[in-house]
Amino acid sequence: MALWLAIVLPALPLQLAERALPGMGQLAIVEGPPLRLVVLHCNAPAQAAGVAPGMKVAAAQALARELIALERNVEREQAALAELAGWAYQFSSHVVLQPDGLLLETGGSERLFGDRARLHRAVTTGLGTLGYRAAFAYAEAPRCARVFALAEAGQGRHVASPGLPPLAEADSLQRLPIELLEWDAVTNETLRALGLSAIGDLLRLPRDAFARRFGTGRLDDLDRALGVRSDPQPLYVPPAHFSARIELPADISETAQLMFPARRLLASLEGFLRGRNAGATELVFSATHSARRGTALAPTAITLALAAPERDAQRLAALLGERLARVQLPAPALTLALTVERLHAFSALNASLLPPSAHDGDVGVDWLQLAETLHARLGSERVFQLQAVDDHRPERAWCALPIAVGDAPRTVPPSATSAPRPLLLLPTPQPLPAHGEQPLDRGPLTLVTGPERIECGWWDLAGPAAGSRARAVHRDYFVARNAHGQWLWIYRELAAPRGWFLHGLFA
């Protein structure tokens, strides 16, 4: 049985502004031609100050000194609804965009969530996390569900309705006002003038006469609401990558304040990724700034790189918190956007690769999370892995790599030599003073073993890699010990002036 859930977001422009930041003061959404802006929606603090929808902006601002008036942006609302549809895709593959809400076919996915009550709870709590208030109605026909949801929203039952709404019967449509059908104002006025104020009044009219007077389109619409006429819906198709944006109603200059809108974005991302059964490994947050002294500022990009695909909003938020500690905003932020270009197959591997042992407590984070936390806070230059490279030149026999957990184990090339190698290497060899043939390091050095002649790399000289790093090596290496008991790895250049260098420590 097809079952449709209609979600209506009343006063959507106002909700979009309110969800961006906590504890907004007096806020009004205004609309209209320039200089004749009229209040469309206003929040509770503004209402308390006496502001009401329909008021002129100047009048509203006279009543409420602190009023933030934001102009309505229809495109922005459509983008937010599309983003919400991407989030809702986790509950149903049949998602339909509506002017101020969504339609979801939930009959097919009830079993996946257990039952209808659990599915409903998942939807309502999810919407709450996203920062939306919504009115809900279930019906067998999508048009019917929509009309009932609008009726719920009209009665203000969108604030707190945690319970599962009953399945709306087509018969009870009869007593609802005709405005809920969302016909144009002229038609509504005509119908009202004819004394037809409830949908039931329309249904009692002769069908052919109604069709002649108001057009067959209206009659078909009524039939769809009753569920007697098939009502195919244009289904929402999720995009290939995730992109969401929040406009900040007030300027934000502290990075910590970005966490609140970022959590909203991450909750939306989690829903989107759940719907696609995917995870993300690279999240790019970008904050735009207002132009300063006429010059546009480049947006601040905050990239979050992960070792393994992840979608858990809480974990991502914790990582972002660490990452934000390294970010400075050059100017107050106006908008915050989140994009994820590439989706990766997600396997629910939120536990360790190792089975938990009896000795380990259940407390603590997984090491993969640890890698990501370290990486998020310190960056890839400071958190890395090391790998041995098959090269005879000691300084090129290793490389630092970004963390790649979960990849196939790296193959370690066979060690080319059995000669001693120090556990600590100086990336840039340090010149040592010498007295004649005797190298010094806080006193004369005792040469223990050697020489090991390393003479290679000439092939790099002619190659395209010839540069500062690509250098031929002609050296005699010794193990040496100084008066302080330190075991050193030193070498002597074979070319004049045959200088001595410290290259490693046998730590």
Binding site: V363, G364, L370, R421, L423, T449, H474, A507
Partner: protein, 267 residues
């Protein structure tokens, strides 16, 4: 005094085997899990017969390059066999306390670590920019489950002895939540400062060998240092002279001087 002796004998009869006297070595099972250090002379003196797991271990040394990492390598190689992951928090400035060159930047050398048996694919290296960041990284690492070992160079996180104690105490408490080997390397000047670590080792070189003084361990203190031979046997006596090294130059010294072989040959 007599009363004390009487009390002791009374306790002995009452407590039996569960009584442990401070001048005795604690029973191995009372020490919690340990991992053999790979050096028999040291294991003999370590309570439980090895490095204590889930306890903070403090290594104090001033001179890098006396064998401080070679001392840990066998245990770390054992952990690699169990496929456990490790984190190394490297020194902030890697000072080798050389008078004429106070700062020598070093990095763990991957080929040598691989030869020593460490699992580089499961080791994360952290290079902190401040001591505080290093402390944070060690702390985060100790929070992780299923971690094999943490090796952290902590010069002095706070600058004050009191702050250091608090920081180490926090690390010690975190270490107890899991079974990781928690090694912190600190300068030897902290040897006299109080520390919450259950095992404190002062490392110094003695001739060609490494001298390990157990400043603190569970049970009876050890007065005599342990001397370990970490180096290959032939290094002990070997001695070469720089003069005896062949002075043979590469085939073409002009090649060396110009660093541009093709040009040199064509000219």
């Amino acid at each position: 005094m007599r009363a004390a002796t009487e009390l002791l004998s009374l306790l002995h009869t009452a407590g039996g085997a569960s009584l442990w006297r401070g001048d005795e070595r604690p029973a191995d099972e009372a020490c919690g899990p340990t991992l053999a250090s790979g050096f028999a002379e040291l294991d003999r003196e370590l309570p439980g017969g090895g490095w204590p797991q889930g306890q903070l271990i403090e290594l104090l040394t001033d001179n890098a390059g006396i064998g401080e990492l070679s001392l840990l390598a066998p245990a770390l190689a054992q952990l690699a066999q169990t496929r456990r992951c490790s984190v190394w928090v490297l020194p902030v400035d890697a000072s080798r306390t050389v008078s004429h060159a106070p700062e020598v930047q070093t990095i763990p050398y991957a080929p040598a670590l691989a030869t020593a048996g460490l699992d580089l694919a499961r080791t994360i290296f952290v290079k902190p920019s401040t001591p505080r960041e290093g402390l944070w990284a060690v702390e985060q690492s100790l929070r992780a489950r299923h971690l094999g070992a943490v090796v952290g160079w902590l010069p002095s996180a706070s600058g004050t002895g009191d702050g250091d104690f608090r920081a180490l105490r926090r690390l010690h408490l975190l270490a107890q939540r899991h079974r990781a080997l928690a090694f912190v390397l600190r300068p030897a000047r902290h040897a006299q400062a109080p520390s919450p670590a259950v095992l404190r080792l002062l490392l110094a070189s003695a001739g060609t060998q490494l001298q390990v003084t157990l400043l603190k361990r569970r049970g009876r203190p050890l007065l005599e240092p342990v001397t370990l031979a970490l180096r290959p046997a032939h290094w002990e006596s070997a001695r070469v002279d720089a003069d005896t090294a062949p002075r043979m130059l590469p085939a073409s010294s002009t090649l060396l001087d110009t660093q541009r072989p093709m040009d040199a040959l064509l000219a």
